[in-house]
Amino acid sequence: MNLSWLSRFRERPWLWQSGLILFAILLPLPLGDYYRTVAWRTVLYIMLGLSLNLIVGYAGLFQLGHAAFYALGAYTAAILNLQLGIPLFWTFPASILVAALFGFLITRPILHLRGDYLAIVTIAFGEVVRLALVNNIFGITGGANGLSGIARPRLLGLEFRQPIYHYYLVLFFLLITIFAMRRLENSRLGRAWLYVREDETAAEAMGINTTQVKLLAFVLGSGWAGLAGALYAARITVISPDLARFMESVVMFCIVVLGGTGSIPGVFIGALGMVTLPELFRPLKDWRDAWLGVTMVVMMIARPEGLWPSRRVQLELQESEAPHG
């Protein structure tokens, strides 16, 4: 009986999907501003996780400097707003483009690197971006203090001041993100990423330009992170080079890997674990990093595929553990 109830949900995915969306829409209503901000942060990090999932999960490339693109998006929005007075919403496309462009320029020369080597270069790039921002590059990033006084976004005469508006704003973009990710997953391009992740040599032999396909994952993922950065700037109005901290990149990476590489629900769970829980247990803040460390060690031993892995990644991991004949 229980089973038939479950299978009914599986047959009609729109049922639980619309239920989930309804929940997300109603969620902030009974909450105070503090918890609305926690909800906003969670949704923002889900978006960041999904953007990184494109690179780490779909294409199977280690990116440990993702926060750099998040910061680039935030700074682009802020600088355009502060220097040229462009309304914040109009800066979003520029944020996406700038982050995507840097994604292209940085990763093009290093794409032939594999696994750990790629991870090292991406860490280095993240630090380069952070230090460039700290050193007030071109005199427009405001140095270590960052930038403040970003004008709040307005839409149809409505000023986005309260946290709840920003919650709905990121939720709106998250829904678009999920929609886009699912379409990409089930497309010719999504399959190409699968082929590359499974066996790059064989993919190349099938006539797939693996460099181009990997580059596309990086560019799209970076651009998406840029959008998340612009959304952050819109809500906080004060940004600093801390956005590009290595720890930020690590949090994003953990969201993807702990939740379940390559899986959209996994990213949700990862963000809940990495962002929401620590916020809710603020009093235990000092223990946060210790708790994180323990969780990670336990996870890697007990469930390396993540909490809610994609079926395929699960298969791949089992594969690599089995002895080779």
Binding site: R183, R188, G190, E204, A205, M206, G207, I208, R312
Partner: protein, 277 residues
């Protein structure tokens, strides 16, 4: 063989003075041969003779130290450029370019996408002949849906052709060994090659499976595809190939029909030397 060589039709593939050096080792040493449209050519030789190295140069995985390979009268492999020439982009074509030009390959050790279904594996071969990008994926336009449908339909045709349709939704790694080899060929055929290169396709197959494979390769050739085959199974090579090139220690030691090659003293010595030593 003689009548083919005399026709005015240019060779499909021409390997000229092909050499590959790994440090001090001459893996391939000034090898020449030609492949004519519609023939089945066998490349044989004892273990470590340089067959697979030649193969990897033809398919773009290695670039030659010296020498040249032309396919359809276009150069597809020349020594890798160094220094400024490399920065200017004068690099040897990468494997995907060679596949796009019409040479498909299989691997000596099967390299299927193990965790994907048989159908998805064959669909990989259709990637380079289709073109939907990010935008089409996001909008799921009518042309994108039509293209997806045609990819599936054609992949199914190749599965049918290879007699693998029952495994359509089975993960590649769960297929029996012999069928994995066939699936790899189906995947290569889906790229619509003019030249199909097979790296020891009969390795690990039993006698019956080998017989079926011989019939299949003939069938493939009859659809107009030229076949280059590396093989250890002598019986199969002698039966299947119209012409054979024999290499040993990186050098070509003989070339001719199976009967000619079997009589060749150098070939006998190379093989007997290996078997007794």
């Amino acid at each position: 063989m003689a009548e083919r060589a005399l026709t005015s039709e240019p060779p499909l593939l021409r390997v000229r003075q092909l050499t590959k050096q790994f440090g001090g080792l001459m893996a391939v040493d000034h090898v020449d041969f030609e492949l004519h449209p519609g023939e089945i050519l066998g490349l044989i030789g004892p273990n470590g003779a340089g067959k697979t190295t030649i193969f990897n140069m033809i398919t773009g995985f290695y670039s030659p130290s010296t020498g040249e390979i032309t396919f359809k009268e276009q150069c597809i492999a020349r020594p890798a450029a160094a220094g400024w020439a490399r920065l200017r982009g004068e690099q040897a074509p990468r494997p995907h370019r060679i596949t796009q030009q019409g040479i498909a390959r299989t691997f000596q050790t099967i390299r299927l996408f193990k965790n994907l279904t048989a159908l998805e594996n064959v669909m990989a071969g259709l990637h380079h002949r289709t073109k939907a990008g990010v935008w089409q994926a996001l909008t799921r336009s009518a042309s994108q849906r039509a293209e997806e449908a045609s990819i599936v339909a054609e992949a199914e045709r190749w599965l049918n052709f290879m007699g693998l349709h029952a495994y359509r939704n089975e993960l590649a790694k769960n297929l029996p060994y012999g069928d994995q080899r066939r699936l790899e060929i189906a995947r290569a055929l889906a790229t619509r090659p003019a030249l199909l290169t097979l790296d020891e396709p009969a390795a690990g197959l039993n006698e019956q499976e080998t017989i079926a494979l011989v019939a299949l390769i003939r069938e493939i050739r009859d659809t107009g595809i030229t076949v280059l085959l590396i093989e250890h199974d002598m019986k199969m090579v002698m039966e299947l190939c119209e012409r054979i090139v024999v290499v040993d220690h990186g050098r070509k030691i003989a070339e001719g029909t199976p009967a000619e090659v079997q009589r060749n003293a150098a070939v006998i010595e190379a093989y007997l030397g290996v078997e007794e030593g």
